[in-house]
C-alpha cells in the first residue's frame, strides 16, 4: 500500500476509534438511564425513585398470582431470585403473562414498596420450541427449558 493511502487509512481508523471511545463513555455514563426497567434488587436497595413512573421487571414468582373475584385487580410478586417486589395491576394481562415468565410492569412505587402498575408487558426469551416437545419434556418430568425459572437479564 502506498504511503498516502496508508496515512488516509490510519486517519480514518483514528477517527473511528475516537468516536467509538466518545460514544462508549457517553453510553456508560447513561447506562442506568438506558436500562428499560429496574430489577427487584435495585428497588429493594432504594435505587428506584418513589412516586414517579418507573418500570419494574423480573420473573413472576410461581404461585404468587392472586386475582380478585369481582374485578380485574391482580397482585403478583416479581423476583430476580435475589429480592422480590409485589406488583398490583388492574386490567387485562398480555397473553404471554404466566407464572415463571419474565415481565416488565410500568407504574409507580409507593411507600410500602409495592409497584402500582398501569401497564404490564410480557417479556419472552430467545428459546423457541414446538408444543409437542414441551409436552414430551413435561411428561418425562423435566420442565421445559423456556419455562425454567431463569433470572431476567440484568444489565
Amino acid at each position: 500500500m502506498n504511503p498516502l493511502r496508508r496515512k488516509r487509512l490510519l486517519i480514518i481508523l483514528a477517527i473511528l476509534a475516537g468516536v467509538g471511545i466518545a460514544v462508549g463513555l457517553a453510553m456508560s455514563a447513561l447506562r442506568e438511564n438506558i436500562n428499560l426497567f429496574y430489577t427487584p434488587t435495585q428497588i429493594a436497595n432504594g435505587e428506584a425513585p418513589l412516586d414517579t413512573r418507573i418500570r419494574a421487571g423480573g420473573m413472576v414468582e410461581q404461585g404468587s398470582l392472586k386475582r380478585s373475584g369481582d374485578s380485574l385487580d391482580v397482585t403478583f410478586v416479581v423476583t430476580d431470585f435475589n429480592k422480590a417486589v409485589t406488583i398490583t395491576y388492574r386490567g387485562i394481562l398480555p397473553d404471554l403473562f404466566r407464572e415463571g415468565q419474565g415481565i416488565v410492569a410500568l407504574g409507580k412505587l409507593n411507600a410500602d414498596g409495592v409497584v402500582v402498575a398501569d401497564e404490564v408487558l410480557a417479556k419472552h426469551d430467545e428459546k423457541y420450541m414446538p408444543p409437542e416437545v414441551t409436552k414430551a419434556l413435561k411428561d418425562s418430568g423435566q420442565s421445559a427449558p423456556g419455562a425454567n425459572p431463569q433470572p431476567a437479564k440484568e444489565g
Binding site: 473511528l16 447506562r31 426497567f37 408487558l121 430467545e126 423457541y128 408444543p131
Partner: protein, 251 residues
C-alpha cells in the same frame, strides 16, 4: 501483497461484465430460497409452545434485521475504500445500497411492532434494541439525503463516506444492546459459538430465508449499481458499445 485484483474491482467496465454474469444466479437463488423458506416457515414449521403461530413473523423479521445491519457495515466498508483508495465504484455501491438498507430496517421495525403487540402487549417500547434500530433507520435517511443534497459528485461521495464510517459505531450497539442493558427485546437465539435455542425444523427455514434475503440484496444491489454505472460512464466508449449491442439485440 498484490493489489491488482483489488484495483481491477474498481474498474466500472470490469464490474459491469462480471456483475452481468453473477446477476442471473443470484436472482434465481433468491427466488428459490425465499420461496421455499417462506412456504416452509409459514405453513410447515411447528408453532411455538408459548407464542403459537405469531412467532412465524420471525421468518421475515430476523432476516430483515440481519440484512439491515450487514448492509450498514457494507456501507462503512465502501466508505473506507472510497476515502482511502478513491475508488469511484465504492461510492456507487454506497449510494445504491443505502435505500435497500433503509427498506430492510423499516421492514424489521414494522414486523417487530406487529410481533410485539401480541407477545409483549405493546407496539413499541423505548428499549435499547428498538431505539438503536430506529437510529439506524435515521442514519440511512441521513445518508440518502446527504447523497442527494450535494450536487458535486465527489463532495457528496466524501460526505456520505464519512457519515457511513462514523455511523458504524451504532452496529455493535444494536448487536449487544440486549446484553448490556435490561431490554424487553429477548437475547439472540443464534450465536456462532452455541447451538441455537431452537429445534432444527424451526431454524432450517429461517436459514433459507436469511440466505435468500442476502441473495435478494445482492441481486437488487447489482441491478441498481449497473444502472448507476451506465449513467455515470455514459460518455465512455464501452458504455456506448454496450448500449448499441443491447439495442441491436432487441431490434
Amino acid at each position: 501483497m498484490n493489489w491488482t485484483w483489488f484495483h481491477k474491482l474498481g474498474s466500472p467496465k470490469w464490474f459491469y461484465g462480471i456483475s452481468g454474469k453473477l446477476l442471473p444466479w443470484l436472482s434465481v437463488a433468491a427466488v428459490l430460497l425465499i420461496g421455499i423458506g417462506l412456504v416452509w416457515g409459514l405453513a410447515f414449521a411447528p408453532p411455538d409452545y408459548q407464542q403459537g403461530n405469531s412467532f412465524r413473523i420471525i421468518y421475515i423479521h430476523v432476516p430483515a434485521a440481519m440484512l439491515a445491519q450487514s448492509c450498514y457495515v457494507l456501507l462503512a466498508v465502501c466508505g473506507i475504500v472510497g476515502l482511502v483508495w478513491k475508488m469511484k465504484l465504492a461510492d456507487v455501491a454506497l449510494q445504491c445500497a443505502a435505500p435497500i438498507g433503509a427498506w430492510m430496517t423499516a421492514v424489521a421495525l414494522v414486523t417487530g411492532a406487529i410481533w410485539g403487540k401480541p407477545t409483549w402487549g405493546s407496539w413499541w417500547v423505548w428499549d435499547a434494541r428498538l431505539t438503536s434500530m430506529l437510529i439506524l433507520l435515521f442514519l440511512y435517511f441521513g445518508l440518502i439525503a446527504l447523497g442527494n443534497a450535494i450536487s458535486n459528485r465527489d463532495s457528496a461521495a466524501k460526505a456520505c463516506a464519512v457519515l457511513a464510517i462514523v455511523g458504524v459505531i451504532n452496529i455493535p450497539i444494536i448487536k449487544y444492546s440486549v446484553e448490556w442493558w435490561n431490554t424487553l427485546h429477548q437475547g439472540a437465539t443464534f450465536t456462532l459459538t452455541e447451538k441455537p435455542a431452537m429445534p432444527v425444523e424451526m431454524w432450517a427455514p429461517l436459514l433459507l430465508m436469511v440466505l435468500g434475503f442476502y441473495c435478494f440484496f445482492g441481486a437488487v444491489l447489482l441491478l441498481r449499481m449497473r444502472l448507476e454505472v451506465l449513467k455515470r460512464e455514459a460518455r465512455t466508449s464501452w458504455v456506448k458499445a454496450e448500449v448499441q449491442t443491447s439495442l441491436g439485440a432487441r431490434g
